[in-house]
Assembly symmetry: C2
Homo-oligomer: 230 residues x 2
DNA sequence: ACCTGAACACCGTTCAAGT
DNA sequence: ACCTGAACACCGTTCAAGT
């Protein structure tokens, strides 16, 4: 009788769908990931996926979440600089393992709980280490993609969306409890620039000048990456 | 008689197609740009576009080229740091005017002449200012998206593709002539890391540590973005 | 030389129906 | 509760044909 050599055909679940999508993207790239190709791979009709995932964007959000949840925690005893460094290197490992991740993050528009938790953890490393929310804010913008191992603008506004989302007291209370460092940064930024005016330009120039100044310093110190081989 | 109130209906050309695509993306976003929607806007059948553009990817390349060609040149008398700064700010203006540009750049896979010329110009600012090709290389990786006003990995390998492309003497000669600074960087990098091994990791850590060190310095100096308003 | 019509092989997603 | 079938409104692109 048939019992063909078809895919596993386990029972579907939100987690299984996301994991299989990750495997597909790892193998064939994000361009090859369609609801239809994923369904085929799961031995199921495309529509079956919509019971477990709202739409394709929701699917990609879940894929990113699964990867970000795998980032490792830095040692509790380390200083803020070492902690942030360790998180960035952990995120980078994920990018190397899943080359599509940068592209996926770049197209995201909503911040999931998982993504907010990661941002909050990075912010916490700085702030618990004594760095001001103000400087932490700018530092995180400068780190940009390095926080995710890649990518910039998924992250572009640590503050704006948070502040906008927190318009009701209930949501504000929840956010403060769950993502205290992110909220601390948002509140600090709001107090400095209530109209949110020029802040993005100021962030851009902060990073630009930080880099150029650091490069100039290295230039004057005759920096080399490594000696030329003989 | 008809003579309806349809779009202009000028004669198509490569430049006109690109310009109209830019207008469409400015108005409705890159997601709304399809060969079909663009054709409709030009009062033409979709297939007509393929006489002027190889495919959709080629179209987006041209759109990016048109914008990058509009970047302004820094004053000749300025120092390298001011020149690079001015180029980054000019690119940023373009991003503000064309919000889809970052996303478009991120999905590019080929470097056009225009894009190489821009990279070469930035590299030239550094190198003519006395900065070594080695440090220029790392500095440009660190600046990343800021060189385009945004975006990271379109730019990720200043060197690898150049080196790979230059496998024939003719192409090497052409590249050396047209993009001398880009080639200088590629040659320098190849001499330091012939196998191209670990170089990406080294670039990542260079930037990460440059930022963290600069942030630490600012922290110790009690940096603030601007005083809190009363 | 430039544009068109019809067609192919895809998409994501809705809705009503099956089990 | 979970999956299916048929259908809708889209894509990019090829190819042969028109002017």
């Amino acid at each position: 009788m048939p019992q063909q050599d078809t895919p596993p055909r386990r029972r579907l679940s939100r987690a299984l769908v996301a994991r299989e999508a990750i495997t597909l993207a790892d193998q064939d790239g994000l361009g090859a990931l369609s609801m239809r190709s994923l369904a085929t791979r799961l031995g199921v009709v495309p529509m079956a996926l919509y019971k477990h995932v709202a739409d394709k964007s929701d699917l990609i959000d879940r894929m990113v979440d699964v990867i970000v949840e795998s980032y490792s925690e830095p040692k509790h005893s380390a200083g803020w600089r070492q902690k942030v460094r360790a998180r960035a290197l952990s995120a980078r490992e994920a990018i190397l393992a899943h080359p599509w991740l940068g592209q996926a993050i770049d197209t995201r528009t909503k911040r999931s709980e998982t993504v907010l938790a990661h941002m909050n953890a990075v912010a916490g490393d700085f702030i618990e280490g004594g760095v001001s929310p103000d400087l932490t804010h700018y530092a995180m913008h400068t780190l940009g993609n390095r926080i995710w191992g890649y990518s910039p603008e998924a992250f572009a506004d640590v503050d704006a969306p948070t502040a906008a989302d927190a318009h009701t007291p209930e949501i504000y209370a929840y956010m403060s409890n769950r993502f205290p460092y992110v909220v601390a940064i948002a509140m600090d930024a709001a107090s400095r620039s209530p109209s949110h005016s020029c802040e993005q330009q100021s962030e851009f120039e902060f990073t630009l000048d930080l880099i150029l100044e650091a490069v100039e310093r290295l230039h004057l110190a005759n920096w080399v990456s490594r000696p030329i081989e003989a």
